[in-house]
Symmetry: C2
Subunit: 238 residues, 2 copies
């Protein structure tokens, strides 16, 4: 029998296979990081990415509803709280909304406008995946967060340097808290995956789930690039 893929090797494979398709390499991200986006293109990204942001608690709800292990459910419930906020603490959805407002978008428009269809398809396919797969694979989709801190650092730099005429400083607040969050969350997810995916078959499945999740992020950017860089689509439907 093959030796069980260790945690270190699991992460190594994730980095090797995942890095190739991580959103940081997407042409849209490259434009963003180089300060080449127009105000409208930046806003289009913020507006459309909100649909992904909004879908996260639904995805996490699906993972919980598939999971028979109470300790895992309890860990995972905190994700939903992190997205939706609790008590005084504002969640990730509100954080993104404030980022949008600091970038000149109307709150009501962000809340009510629909994403372009390619973004809708991609995000919904992630939600679907979480609903239909095992909870371990659902948890594994969030391992894309392993790669997030480097991306967020570059994003903060780009926003502060190139887009400060569009994005007010308070708009960066969300991203400043995001890195600590992402490190904590991806640690938890990795621990769960390594603990419960206790065969190479399950670990391979988990690995494929992360790569699928990266493909989703990539597709979101494909659609945004097509609509707002290749073409000049309206920012939002009336």
């Amino acid at each position: 029998m093959a030796k069980l893929l260790t945690k270190d090797n699991f992460v190594r494979r994730l980095r090797a296979e995942g890095a190739r398709r991580y959103q940081d390499r997407h042409p849209f991200t490259i434009l963003l990081n180089k300060g080449k986006l127009s105000e409208k293109q930046l806003q289009a990204w913020i507006l459309n990415w909100f649909y992904f942001q909004k879908s996260l608690p639904l995805k996490d709800g699906a993972i919980i509803s598939n999971c028979p292990i109470a300790v895992v459910r309890r860990l995972w419930v905190s994700r939903i709280l992190d997205h939706d906020g609790y008590g005084e603490l504002e969640g990730g959805i509100e954080g993104w909304l404030r980022f949008a407002q600091a970038s000149g978008l109307d709150r009501q428009i962000v809340l009510t406008s629909k994403p372009i269809s390619g973004v809708g398809l991609a995000v919904d396919s992630l939600l679907n995946f979480a609903r239909k797969s095992s909870w371990i694979e659902g948890v594994a989709t969030s391992l894309t967060q392993l790669f997030l801190p480097a991306v967020v650092d570059r994003r903060i730099n780009a926003l502060a340097r190139y887009y400060n005429h569009i994005v007010k400083p308070e708009g960066l607040r969300y991203f400043l808290s995001l890195n600590a969050q992402a490190r904590k969350d991806s640690d938890t997810a990795l621990t769960l995956v390594i603990k419960y995916a206790d065969s190479n078959e399950l670990r391979e499945k988990a690995l494929r789930a992360v790569l699928f999740s990266e493909d989703v992020l990539w597709s979101i950017l494909d659609a945004i690039y097509s609509a707002f860089v290749v073409r000049d689509s309206p920012l939002h439907e009336p």
Copy 2:
């Protein structure tokens, strides 16, 4: 109570709302029709579209498995035969394979290579939709074929005029038979939808299913454009 949307008005709304996003308007199709694609880009389209082609009998199987009405199932089974072929008659999958071969692609490569991930996501979301929606909505997704004849005519002209150094004449055979097929199939689908979607609520659902299906086609082209026009990705994984 609101008057029932007539068949004519249903088709009129379909044309009005559908035409806006039909694949004919996509930047990739525009390049194709103007003869602006390189050999590799044309082959990339053929190779990746094959994944859509291959998924059609699975989609139709899902529609059948959701449908409790035997006369409808019997009508719909002929779709699967049309894709997979029967007796001496070659099906749509084989037709596309021959088109690929006539365009310089190796049959074995077409059969075994994976689509780029955005194409995979989009096609799988259509399959998913068919599995999870009512059979009427599943049937309605095929109403995009109403728009197909005009597209196919332009495609045949472009292939014959601009790409005759790439595509051998026998490669066009599949498209020449496609129009009659599409007219027959969309007539059947429209008849079924109008017969069984007997409330405005159901007709609206059917309408949304067609528009969703058009979004899928659009997203396939977004991904191909991103990978092979914006970037220069490898034609297929080794």
